[in-house]
Amino acid sequence: MFTCRDSIDLLQRFLDGEMPEEERHRLKEHLDACPPCVDFLRTYRATPGLCRKAMVDQMPRELSKQLTAFLRQRLRK
């Protein structure tokens, strides 16, 4: 029987679009009957985007100044 575990194992290939038709069909069948897996799929798909936003950093001012000084010194050579 095709379980939630199977469906979660397949999500990545499903989203990458690398899935044979038959497997795709079985996954869709499971998703049609299993709302929690649909929520899992949606939140799995939203995860990278949220993480990308959370990863935005600013270089601290002090380190930024050091970078400028370092490059000024090295680029003249």
């Binding site: 939203a46 936003k53 270089m59 970078l67």
Partner: protein
């Protein structure tokens, strides 16, 4: 249009830098330093190391500036250099016996059903919504906690946008191994975000 103008502007800055205009190069540095520093920091998790990697990446970009040809974007290129440096730095930092938190895996019942169903679908509008600080903190903490091999792959693929093949070349791992780690990293991060939404 704004993006196009920006890319055009970046090409002309690159051309000027290639012709020896240091101020053009400095403008390129100013534009990209935050993101270059950011990716290094997320991979190596040390401000000092990330600052060094940022310096090395821009210096190396400058020294090889003439190798950058045609339409290749300076930004993409310098990010690749920084990612590469971060990955090899991480290899050196991994001390023997370093303990890492094991990866969080979903739990299933004996029948292979999800043991904990997502209680709400927080994916709606996630793309457009601005991130509040608490969620941002929770995500950063969850990423930092990933075992390094998983963290690295997740950052390179899902944050930096490298291809599986590029990551394989950088890390020396196989594409199937990378895909499997990426999937498990996403599953663990999804669980961390899910917990955040269900507890707050």
């Amino acid at each position: 249009m704004a993006d196009e103008a920006r890319a055009e502007d970046e090409r002309s800055l690159t051309a000027r830098a290639q012709a020896g205009d240091i101020s053009a190069f400095e403008e390129l540095v100013a534009r990209h330093k935050d993101r270059v520093y950011g990716v290094a920091l997320r991979i190596v998790r040390s401000e000092a190391d990330a600052a060094e990697i940022t310096q090395e990446a821009f210096l190396s970009a400058y020294q090889h500036l003439l190798e950058l040809r045609g339409d290749a974007a300076f930004g993409t290129w310098v990010h690749r250099i920084a990612a590469n440096l971060s990955v090899s730095r991480l290899r050196h930092l991994k001390v023997a016996g370093e303990t890492e938190t094991p990866l969080e895996e979903p739990e299933f019942t004996d029948h292979g059903l999800l043991a904990h169903y997502p209680q709400r679908d927080w994916s709606k509008g996630a793309e457009e919504r601005a991130l509040d600080n608490e969620l941002r903190g929770a995500i950063r903490q969850a990423v930092d906690r990933l075992p390094s091999g998983y963290r690295e792959v997740f950052l390179l693929k899902d944050v930096e946008g490298l291809s599986y093949e590029e990551i394989a070349e950088m890390t020396g791992d196989s594409v199937p191994a990378i895909k499997s780690r990426l999937h498990r990293a996403r599953v663990a991060l999804r669980a961390a975000i899910d917990r955040f939404y269900n507890e707050s």
